[in-house]
C-alpha cells in the first residue's frame, strides 16, 4: 500500500506532463484529421485564382464556367503578397490570368496567350492539366472554322461527355481515416506519457538513498517490484483509457462503436502495453532524471517520424520505412492504416492486422526480457 501510495504521489506531481501531451494529442490529432474520401468517384478540385481581364461572354464565359465547375475558385486574397504566400503554402494551386479580348481573339481563330503561375506538387499539375484540357479542346474545334456560339456549344458538349469511372472501395473512408489519423498521432502521446512518468517514478525509487531505505524495509524486493509493475500497468491503462475516451469525442463515438473501432482500440491497448515495456527497459538503462526527458523525446519523436505518425507513409521513402520495421510503432501505425480500407471483417482480411498485433506483443515480451536481464546484472554488480 505504501509503495502504491508513493507511486501515485509521484504520478500526481507530474500531472502537468500528462496534461501537456494530452492537449497536444487533442490539438494535433484534430488538426490532422481530414482528407475525406467516399465510395463514389469524385474528382479532386484544385484551388485556383482567376484574374479575368475580359468580358465574361462567349469563349471567356465558357472557360470561366468550366473552371467554376472543375476547380475551387478562391477570391479571398486581397493583395499580391497574400496570394504569393497562398501559392507557396499550396492553399492556391494555380493562378490564371485571362487577357483582355480573349473571347474576340478565339472567335477570330487565334490562340490567345493565358498566363499562369502554379505551386509545387501533384495538385498543381492537376490544376494545370485541367486548364489545358479545356484550352486544347477549344483550339481543336477552333480549327474547324466554327462560329463563336457553335464553338462554345461544341466544347461544352465535349467536356460534358466524361468517362465512366468505377471505384472499388465499398468503405466510406471519411470516418475510418479520421480514426486512423487520431490513433496514429496517439503513437507519440502514448509513448511520451507512459515513458516519461514510468521512468520518473522508477528513477525516484532507484535513487540511492531511497533504495537503501527500501532494502532495509520489511517489504521484500519481489513484492515491491510486483506492486510497482502492477501500478505501472494501471497507469498505462489509465492513459490508454483517457486517449480512447478523447478519441471517441474527437472522431465520434458512433464511428468507434463497430468492429473496426474495436480493432483501433485493441491495437492502441496493445501498443500501450508495449510502451510500458519500453519504459521498463529505459528505466533500467537511464537513471538520471535530467536524461529521461531527452531519451523519451528521442524514442517517441524518432519512432513517430520514422514510422509515419506525423508524415503519411505514402510520402515517406521506402528505405526509411524498411528501417522502421524494427520499431513497434511501425506495426501499430500500419494496423491503423490497414483498418481504414478493410471492407469486411473476416479472417482473411483481418489476418495482417492480427499478425501486426502479435508482433507488437512479441516486442513487449522482448523488451521485458531484456529489461530483466539488465536488472539482474545490475543487482549482481551492486
Amino acid at each position: 500500500m505504501t509503495v502504491s501510495r508513493a507511486f501515485w504521489k509521484i504520478v500526481l506531481k507530474n500531472i502537468g506532463t500528462i496534461i501537456t501531451y494530452s492537449v497536444m494529442l487533442i490539438i494535433f490529432g484534430s488538426l490532422t484529421m481530414g482528407s475525406p474520401t467516399t465510395t463514389q468517384y469524385s474528382a479532386e478540385k484544385p484551388a485556383i485564382v482567376v484574374f479575368n481581364n475580359d468580358e465574361e461572354v462567349g469563349s471567356t464565359k465558357g472557360l470561366m464556367d468550366y473552371l467554376r465547375s472543375h476547380t475551387e475558385i478562391a477570391d479571398k486574397y486581397e493583395d499580391n503578397d497574400e496570394l504569393k504566400d497562398a501559392l507557396f503554402y499550396e492553399q492556391v494551386h494555380l493562378i490564371v490570368t485571362i487577357p483582355k479580348g480573349y473571347h474576340a481573339d478565339v472567335a477570330a481563330g487565334k490562340n490567345p496567350e493565358i498566363e499562369t503561375r502554379s505551386s509545387a506538387g501533384y495538385t498543381a499539375q492537376l490544376a494545370k492539366s485541367t486548364l489545358e484540357r479545356y484550352l486544347t479542346i477549344t483550339q481543336s474545334y477552333n480549327k474547324l472554322g466554327l462560329s463563336e456560339n457553335e464553338l462554345v456549344e461544341k466544347v461544352n458538349k465535349s467536356i460534358g461527355n466524361e468517362v465512366e469511372v468505377g471505384v472499388n472501395s465499398k468503405v466510406d473512408t471519411t470516418a475510418t481515416s479520421k480514426a486512423a489519423r487520431y490513433f496514429s498521432f496517439a503513437n507519440y502521446s502514448i509513448l511520451a506519457c507512459v515513458i516519461t512518468i514510468i521512468c520518473l517514478v522508477m528513477s525516484s525509487f532507484n535513487r540511492q538513498a531511497i533504495r537503501k531505505r527500501n532494502i532495509v524495509s520489511s517489504v521484500d524486493y519481489k513484492t515491491m517490484n510486483r506492486v510497482l509493475l502492477r501500478n505501472c500497468c494501471f497507469y498505462a491503462l489509465g492513459v490508454w483509457l483517457l486517449y480512447v475516451v478523447m478519441g471517441a469525442f474527437l472522431v465520434g463515438s458512433a464511428d468507434l462503436m463497430n468492429w473496426r473501432g474495436l480493432f483501433f482500440v485493441l491495437n492502441s491497448l496493445l501498443f500501450s502495453v508495449c510502451a510500458t515495456s519500453i519504459a521498463f527497459l529505459i528505466s533500467n538503462l537511464v537513471f538520471e532524471r535530467g536524461a529521461i526527458n531527452g531519451v523519451m523525446n528521442v524514442v517517441a519523436i524518432g519512432s513517430s517520424f520514422l514510422c509515419g505518425a506525423f508524415v503519411p507513409v505514402q510520402y515517406m521513402p521506402e528505405s526509411v520505412l524498411a528501417f522502421a520495421h524494427v520499431l513497434p510503432s511501425y506495426y501499430y501505425i500500419n494496423t491503423n492504416n490497414r483498418l481504414v480500407e478493410i471492407e469486411e471483417c473476416n479472417f482473411e482480411s483481418i489476418l495482417p492486422v492480427l499478425i501486426n498485433m502479435l508482433i507488437i506483443v512479441g516486442f513487449s515480451v522482448a523488451f521485458i526480457v531484456v529489461a530483466n536481464i539488465i536488472s539482474k546484472k545490475r543487482r549482481k554488480i551492486a
Binding site: E44, Y89, L126, E132, L135, L144
Partner: protein, 391 residues
C-alpha cells in the same frame, strides 16, 4: 571581472548535460529525423509516372486512336504513365494490391476507368483518359463529315483514303496545343519545416538564459545569494552571463543552419550575411525571453524550462512545424505569427528566400527586435532594486 564571469558562465553551461542536450543535440536529432521523413517531399514537384493497366480486348483494339495516344503517354522521358497491358483479372488483382493506380478497359461498350479510391493520382488518370477520349471524338467529328463528303461526291473510297483523312484529323488535333505562359517560381514547402526547426532551436536556447539568470537570483539558488552579497556589480554579472548564453546559442544555431544547408541541401537563399542576421536576432530574442521568464515565474527551474518548451512548441505549431501550414494559421489567426518569435524567425528565412523585395524581411527583423525590447524592459523592471531583509 566581466570576462572572468563570462568564462565561468560558459563553462557552467557546457557542463550541464540536460541543457546541452536540449539546446545543442536535440535540434540536430530533429533535423536528421525531418530529413528522413520528408526525403520524398524534397522532390515531390517532380512528377513520377503513374502505374496503370490497359485491359486488352476486342473493343479496346477497335479504339485504335485512343490506344495509340495512350501508348505515346507511356513513352519518352516525360511520360505520364507506366503502362501494363494485361487481362481483366490480373488488372483487378493488381488494383486490389495497390500495384496500379487504376485500369482502363472496354469490355462491353465505351471505354471506362476503374480506380480503388479517390485521390489526386486517380484524378490525374481520369483527367488524362477524358482528354484522350475527347480528342478521339473530335478526330471522329473532323474525319466523318469529310468521308461522307467524299462518298457523296461519288468518288471511290478505299481504306487508304480513310486512313489519310484520319491521319490529317489526328494531325489537326495534335497541333492544337494550348498557349499557356507559365510564370511560376516553384519552391519546396518542406524548406519551411527546416525554417521552423531553426526557429525552435533559437527559442529552446531560452533555457540557457533561464539557467544563468536563476544562478544570479538570491531567492532561487544559493549561488544567487552569494552573487547578491559579492562586491561585483549586478549589471556586470547579468550581462556577462547573458553574453555567454547568447554566444553559445548563436554558435549552435549557426552550426545547425550550416549542417542543414551543406549536409541536407536546404536552401536558405544566397544572402548568407542576412541568414546570419536572422540567427543573431532570433538568438538575442530567445536569450532575453529566457531572462524575462526566469524573473516573472516564481517557480523552480524545471517548471520554467517546461514553460519555455510549451511557449516554443505552441509557436512552432503556429509556424507550421506539425503538418498544418503557416499559411493556414496566417489566414485563421493573422496576428499570432506577427508577434510570435518562432513565427517571425520562420517568416524571416521564408521572405529572404521567396521575396525579391526585402521590406518583409526587415519588418520581421524589426518586429523581433521590438519583441526583444519589450522582454528587456520588463526584465529590467523586475531585476532592479531587488533587496532582501532576510531570505
Amino acid at each position: 571581472m566581466f570576462w572572468h564571469n563570462y568564462k565561468n558562465a560558459f563553462r557552467t553551461l557546457i557542463k550541464n548535460k540536460a541543457l546541452v542536450f536540449w539546446t545543442l543535440v536535440f535540434p540536430f536529432v530533429l533535423a536528421i529525423l525531418f530529413n528522413l521523413a520528408f526525403a520524398r517531399l524534397h522532390d515531390y514537384d517532380v512528377f513520377e509516372p503513374l502505374d496503370i493497366a490497359v485491359v486488352e480486348s476486342e473493343q479496346m483494339d477497335n479504339s485504335q486512336v485512343f490506344k495509340e495516344a495512350l501508348k505515346t503517354l507511356g513513352e519518352g522521358d516525360n511520360k505520364i504513365f507506366n503502362l501494363k497491358y494485361t487481362d481483366l483479372d490480373t488488372a483487378k488483382g493488381q488494383l486490389n494490391d495497390e500495384k496500379i493506380v487504376g485500369y482502363v478497359y472496354a469490355n462491353d461498350g465505351p471505354i471506362k476507368v476503374q480506380v480503388k479510391k479517390n485521390g489526386v493520382n486517380e484524378t490525374v488518370l481520369v483527367t488524362v483518359v477524358d482528354q484522350l477520349l475527347q480528342s478521339s471524338r473530335i478526330i471522329d467529328e473532323i474525319a466523318t463529315p469529310q468521308i461522307s463528303e467524299y462518298a457523296a461526291s461519288g468518288q471511290p473510297i478505299d481504306e487508304s483514303t480513310i486512313a489519310a483523312i484520319y491521319q490529317e484529323a489526328v494531325k489537326t488535333v495534335m497541333e492544337a496545343s494550348p498557349n499557356v505562359k507559365d510564370d511560376s517560381h516553384v519552391m519546396n514547402i518542406v524548406s519551411t519545416e527546416f525554417f521552423t526547426l531553426i526557429a525552435m532551436a533559437c527559442m529552446q536556447g531560452a533555457m540557457l538564459s533561464v539557467e544563468l539568470t536563476n544562478r544570479s537570483m538570491p531567492n532561487i539558488t544559493n549561488r544567487g545569494k552569494r552573487v547578491a552579497i559579492s562586491p561585483t556589480r549586478k549589471s556586470v554579472v547579468v550581462t556577462s552571463n547573458l553574453l555567454a548564453g547568447y554566444t553559445m546559442l548563436f554558435v549552435s544555431v549557426m552550426a545547425l543552419i550550416l549542417f542543414t544547408r551543406f549536409i541536407f541541401g536546404i536552401d536558405y537563399g544566397s544572402n548568407l550575411p542576412l541568414v546570419c542576421v536572422v540567427a543573431a536576432v532570433g538568438s538575442l530574442t530567445a536569450t532575453i525571453m529566457g531572462v524575462f521568464l526566469s524573473i516573472i515565474l516564481k517557480t523552480n527551474e524545471n517548471a520554467k524550462n517546461i514553460i519555455v518548451v510549451i511557449v516554443t512548441m505552441v509557436g512552432c505549431l503556429f509556424a507550421g512545424m506539425f503538418g498544418v501550414t503557416k499559411g493556414f494559421f496566417d489566414s485563421a489567426a493573422p496576428m499570432v505569427n506577427k508577434v510570435s518569435p518562432v513565427g517571425l524567425i520562420t517568416d524571416g528565412f521564408y521572405s529572404l528566400l521567396y521575396y525579391e523585395d526585402m521590406t518583409r524581411f526587415w519588418v520581421n527583423i524589426v518586429s523581433l527586435l521590438a519583441v526583444a525590447a519589450v522582454f528587456f524592459v520588463l526584465s529590467i523592471r523586475g531585476l532592479r532594486r531587488q533587496n532582501y531583509d532576510s531570505i
